[in-house]
């Protein structure tokens, strides 16, 4: 069968109609966008239909982050529509963010008519050129008869294999021309694309070898990442079962939080630069590391020369280019996490009956010794609110609700990862790979649209939230009851912390003067604003925030100089963590470490 007769040709429509029809066929219910000259025909078509709900953001970066939040909390493809030129360039940060964090998106960009491309026409930008390195794939559609095929393919590419953002650039004449609509190939994910067919089924022999290693290991450790979450809720369920069956300890990356319930015994907390002591020490000391859907990112590994020197490493990933990229592994397994986990569990059941497994008692003893350091301890003594305390209380007061957390980037993000605990996947949306300040607010609105009944909270820093503060207007317009929990230290805290630790306490440009009054700001946008300044009032403020029906900004005024610990200083290994401020003088950061970001 050829590619062509998989599609069935239907009727003649204009390009804009084709776009909307394709979106409907792809079950797109929400579209985040911002209009402009090049996309007016598409907006006209949006006006004439009721299936796809268009959310008018206030900046195209906001549209992309909102679509990311929507995608990550629902598992669906997020969809964006922006105009040519500045519309497209404004979307670039969001696209890069989605690429780094493997978020499935389709972003439609307007373009000047084909006959003007290359002429420096009004609002022309080389969108496919600009977005080539920050998308998984992109297309320029030059013929309306290719349009529906390309759109269906864009969705297929965005969600298949390692997910990512796809741009479809649409010249204005193409969306006005008439052409044929073809339906999506049937069994959308099952069909063979002519070139792009990621391997999903792992090599069973390798799975069996992996399970042999499981049985032999005396100090095993699961190290899981966002790949488990991207693989779907079933993967998280199977992972949980596998951890329970094997009794192995487990840690996750920032992106992987929630794929295994943090309330379980085997959970060691997050790994990496601001991960827990026990997780990092276990990474360093383990004899078998089982990486599922994580990518040995530098925030996780620390100094590669010192990284887990005595372990055999298994790496399961759907993206071949993630394997052996940063860390050389002993057993690479290419495939989808969910399928691989099923196979491993199956093999484990068979093999563990026949063969004795190693005793893990002394490993667990070691781990509980590390745990007893209580690396996340902090002291809330007087009335000055410690940021950790604020987030911990937020967790305690909302943990039994259907809570979704987004964050901005900085100290508050790391404290959120440490103190807010997740028992389910798709509940934690943060910008991990790119570290984009301004992500959390628009992401939260996207999450809320995907989960109308959920309690959606952006744990924010006061500097970050200003980067996309205009989206408050979107939140109010669509009556989204998003809660913005600003951990306000008046500093770009993470920058200030690095300046304290690495640059002699010279706080160059990391203090924000003339911050807005966030309470009045909230009110100006037509939402509720609150402020809390004393530790004793934190609980009642949180309760008031969550019991308010509409959107709220809660400005939590916290200790300005608190640092985020534990911390692996740049250039150090996992076993060289700083546990608190009293630790820092002992280990000056090496010159090699200073260069690192």
């Amino acid at each position: 069968m050829t590619e062509d007769n998989l599609h069935s040709i239907e009727e003649e429509l204009n390009g804009a109609q084709i776009v909307l029809k394709a979106l409907q066929e792809q079950s797109v219910q929400v579209l985040f966008g911002y209009p402009g000259g090049a996309v007016l025909p598409i907006y006209d078509q949006i006006f004439k239909q009721n299936y796809v709900k268009h959310i008018l953001v206030r900046h195209e970066q906001g549209a992309v982050h909102a679509a990311e939040g929507y995608a990550r909390s629902t598992g669906k493809v997020g969809v964006v529509l922006v105009t040519s030129g500045p519309g497209a360039t404004n979307a670039v940060t969001g696209l890069t963010d989605a690429l780094m964090d493997s978020v499935p998106l389709v972003c439609l960009t307007g373009q000047v008519p084909t006959h003007l491309i290359g002429n420096d026409a009004f609002q022309e930008a080389d969108t496919v050129g600009i977005t080539r390195p920050c998308t998984k794939h992109n297309y320029l559609v030059k013929d309306v008869n290719d349009l529906s095929r390309v759109l269906h393919e864009a969705f297929y590419v965005a969600r298949s294999g390692r997910p990512g953002p796809v741009v479809v650039d649409l010249p204005k004449d193409v969306v006005m021309d008439k052409g044929a609509y073809t339906t999506a190939p049937r069994g959308i994910n099952r069909q063979r694309h002519k070139t792009y067919n990621p391997v999903t089924i792992p090599d069973r022999k390798k799975i069996d070898v992996a399970v042999d290693l499981f049985l032999e290991a005396k100090k095993p450790l699961f190290y899981t990442g966002g790949g488990v979450i991207n693989s779907g809720p079933k993967a998280s369920k199977t992972l949980t079962k596998l951890v329970d069956e094997t009794g192995f300890p487990i840690t996750s990356t920032l992106m992987g939080l929630g794929s295994y319930p943090s309330s379980s015994e085997n959970w060691l907390g997050m790994v990496g630069m601001h991960g827990t002591y026990e997780a990092n020490m276990a990474m360093h000391d383990c004899d078998l590391m089982i990486n599922i859907g994580a990518r040995f990112d530098d925030r996780v590994t620390g100094n590669l020369k010192l990284f887990s020197p005595n372990s055999k490493k298994i790496h399961i990933d759907i993206d071949a280019s993630s394997i052996n990229k940063n860390v050389i592994v002993d057993l690479p397994i290419l495939g989808d996490a969910s399928v691989a986990l099923d196979d491993i569990l199956d093999s484990w059941f068979k093999k563990s009956k026949l063969k004795n497994r190693s005793n893990l008692d002394s490993w667990w003893k070691k781990i509980s010794k590390w745990k007893s350091k209580d690396c996340l301890k902090f002291s809330q003594v007087d009335q000055v609110i410690k940021p950790q305390f604020a987030i911990k209380r937020l967790y305690e007061l909302t943990k039994d609700m259907e809570t979704f957390i987004t964050t901005e980037v900085g100290q508050h993000q790391m404290w959120a990862a440490q103190f807010y605990r997740f028992d389910k996947p798709n509940r934690w949306m943060t910008s991990g790979g790119l570290g984009t300040m301004g992500y959390g607010l628009p992401a939260a609105l996207g999450v809320q649209l995907g989960n109308p009944g959920g309690l959606v909270i952006d744990i924010a820093g006061e500097a970050s939230i200003l980067m996309n503060i205009q989206e408050l207007s979107t939140i109010v317009q669509y009556r989204l009851p998003v809660k913005l929990f600003i951990v306000n230290n008046q500093y770009m805290g993470m920058v200030r912390q690095w300046q304290e630790l690495l640059h002699g306490g010279r706080y160059s440009e990391s203090y924000t003067d003339s911050l807005p009054d966030f309470v009045k700001l909230a009110e100006a946008y037509g939402m509720k604003g609150m402020r809390v300044e004393k530790a004793e009032n934190v609980d009642e403020a949180i309760v008031e925030m969550i019991s308010t029906k509409g959107p709220v900004i809660l400005d939590v005024v916290v200790d300005q100089k608190e640092n985020c610990f534990p911390m692996i200083p740049s250039g150090a290994g996992h076993n060289q963590m700083l546990l608190g401020p009293e630790d820092k003088s002992q280990q000056p950061v090496s010159e090699e470490g200073m260069v690192l970001v």
Partner: protein
């Protein structure tokens, strides 16, 4: 310890080796707009070397192009390059001709040598040894066409550039494996 741990994959010891190798890689791609930019952008964006690059359509009907490139790096880098190329959407196939067994590679160069009268005999002697054709001539300048492996062309250029000043135009490598299965 399990014996077949590394079956079908490159053992870590080889990845840990820091020796740099030069590999010839062919990439079969859909001949669509921007595909070359994608491949080249991948190399520049990730800091890989391209020592030689040739591109041409090889199948009009199915609109396939073949990109031949010579790159160098450690085994880890070379494997990374192939994996990165392999996940580009319009890529059909990535063939590492250097590691896949016998292959042939050829390059064509046009070399114009501007030479003084007393050195003409010497120039012709060298061109005969290298069996290259004269494909153009003007007063005291000769354009030679030479086809062969890169090293042979390098050697020819090295010799004639000692005789007169040269202008050089080279195609870069085209390569193909000898047997159908490799």
């Amino acid at each position: 310890m399990s014996s077949n741990l590394y079956e079908g994959s490159i053992p870590p010891a080889i990845f840990h080796d820091n020796q740099v190798f030069s590999h010839t890689i062919s990439v079969i791609v859909d001949n669509e707009a921007g595909v070359l930019a994608r491949v080249v952008g991948l190399f520049s964006g990730r800091g890989y070397n391209i020592e030689s690059l040739t591109v041409s359509e090889i199948d009009k009907n199915s609109q396939l192009s073949r990109i031949n490139l010579v790159t160098s790096g450690t085994t880890q880098i070379l494997e990374q390059i192939k994996a990165q190329l392999g996940r580009l959407v319009p890529v059909h196939n990535v063939i590492d001709l250097t590691s896949k067994g016998p292959s042939v590679s050829r390059e064509l160069a046009l070399v114009r040598v501007d030479v003084k009268d007393d050195l003409i005999d010497e120039l012709f002697k060298i061109s005969r040894i290298f069996t290259c054709k004269i494909v153009g001539l003007d007063k005291n300048s000769y354009v030679f066409e030479i086809i062969g492996k890169t090293a042979r062309i390098d050697a020819f250029i090295e010799l004639v550039s000692q005789i007169g000043s040269c202008e050089i135009s080279r195609t870069g490598i085209v390569a193909i494996s000898i047997s159908r299965d490799s």
